[in-house]
Symmetry: C2
Subunit: 324 residues, 2 copies
């Protein structure tokens, strides 16, 4: 089995080898730009670790892992148009740096390119690999549509929200892990178990993101702290506050949300004061841990040597135990 | 072998069977809407005819043919956003009927769905089928980017234009035919020959479209006659006129193009008068026929019984011999 560091370096090398110095320039430049900025490269790493864990060949998994990274970045480029997002990873988004049309079309090419990298794999796994990417792609779009729907809908329940982040975040993490298992020709049952593991930890990661946005001291992920609060984003924290607040607190919270002239820092401070009164932070941490533990139970059920799971287990443990 | 009518009915039945009554509604409604409007269903038909011609099984080609139709409609939905097109096939485009975000995301789902239908085929052909769709998708995007680039660029040559329509129109027609050959497990050489046939007739069809837009008496394709002239679209006709016009005629043409207040009908009439002076119509017909004949020479070279080609040969002959 390979060390995480080795796999991360391998991904970095392969991404750097990608050549998008092609014509027409306005189609390919945004792709090179997006992939050069980086990000955590979490999904390709999970694919490689999963394949490795099930005894698969790194030569069969490396290209699909790049495919998954390209696919993920395609979804970000399109999401940024829809969300009007000017900044990602501390850099202008493609949609801002160029324009929406360029972002649509460069994204489309990346989607096709992702499939190209999926083909460079174990031929026995090919049908299942493509099927899985199709499934993931469709579910991620459903998640993004729900996310947009919810912007203007009232009465979004916590269940609605969890289902949305399951689709938008969980499914791709789950799919990446499943792809690794499929490439390694694991049993169907094991592939399904690692998928479930990934879906649950993906949900946990998103609740963690919500927490970090409100409670991390410094800017992480290239987002400013409290950005979700400023933009009235319906996060786990806000929806939980809606659920737990009494009539007066709810009206106070809505006032803060819809007041036209309010200093952003003041808004963040006051909303967090409400969260604190309602013990939202601890509730969210509990919810996050509960999804995380549920994920680990699926990992436990996977029918391979315990030793082979420890790399992945330690890695996700480290990710979820960052402080906030 | 099957009659064209039978294959067309088969496509119609399969498209009508597609079920997009799914949630979230705003994601799937535009897909059902787009596919219900119809169009000529040319690409799936070519795929089926090609597979049939090479002795392949209709059960292996029908689903990929639906995949190609879904893929084609995905490209139209995204193109319509980029081109600000309000109407297609006499109906509001998805982007107009809903909005750009919905059109982006519904298009993305259709792209993934197209791949799903590609999987329901002859397993021996699977790798080549997916590879071909990837290639086609990337080239179609390149064509669309050149098309957008050329809107604001001067000095577009006829060669630039032909290359652009080759990518934007020729490659998908060529790819559909090649997919049919691959599914039938034709020789590599025959698959390449039918691809070349398709690329050339695709270019011929686009020049024909340019001609019909200027010279057809009634509205065809749900476009109004002369629409390309009104919008200063750089068609084969206009670029050829740039090439052939003397200094005075060129200045007269540019005046008509950039005059701010001009009655559209008057503009169309006067531009066509210039085309007539330069014999553009006949030049375009010659160019179209030349690409068409080049395509037929590739069909001639295909190494199967002449009898088996006649269905496809007659069909494209009928298409190219519409009057204008």
């Amino acid at each position: 089995m390979y060390s995480i560091k080795y796999l991360q370096d391998k991904i970095k090398t392969e991404v750097e080898k990608l050549d998008f110095d092609l014509k027409p320039r306005l189609l390919y430049e945004p792709i090179a730009y997006t992939l050069s900025i980086g990000g955590k490269r979490l999904r390709p790493l999970l694919l490689l670790m999963s394949c490795d864990m099930f005894g698969g060949d790194l030569n069969d998994s490396i290209n699909p892992s790049i495919g998954v990274e390209i696919f993920h970045n395609f979804t970000l480029i399109h999401d940024d148009i829809m969300d009007n997002a000017p900044i990602r990873r501390n850099k202008p988004t493609v949609y801002k740096k160029w324009n929406a049309n360029i972002a649509i079309l460069s994204g489309d090419v990346m989607f096709a390119k992702a499939y190209d990298y999926m083909l460079l794999t174990n031929p026995n796994a090919l049908l299942n690999v493509i099927k899985t990417l199709n499934y993931v792609a469709i579910k991620v779009c459903e998640g993004q549509q729900y996310d947009m729907d919810y912007e203007t809908e009232d009465n979004i329940s916590i269940d609605d929200y969890i289902n949305m982040i399951r689709l938008k975040t969980g499914v791709l993490i789950a799919g990446s892990l499943k792809l690794g298992a499929l490439i390694a020709e694991s049993s169907e049952k094991n592939a399904e178990l690692i998928y479930q593991f990934g879906e649950k930890i993906g949900i946990a990661f998103q609740i963690q993101d919500d927490l970090l946005d409100a409670y991390s001291v410094n800017s992480k992920f290239g987002k400013s702290t409290g950005g979700d609060i400023v933009s009235n984003k319906k996060t786990f924290l806000l929806l939980k506050a809606f659920e737990l607040a009494d009539k007066n607190t709810l009206s106070e919270l809505k006032d803060l949300m819809y007041k036209l002239k309010i200093d952003p820092e003041e808004k963040v401070q006051k909303v967090i004061a409400i969260y604190d009164k309602l013990d939202i932070k601890m509730t969210a941490i509990k919810e996050m841990k509960s999804y995380f533990d549920e994920g680990l139970r699926y990992l436990d059920m996977i029918d391979i040597k315990e030793d082979n799971k420890s790399n992945l287990r330690n890695f996700v443990n480290d990710l979820i135990n960052r402080e906030y």
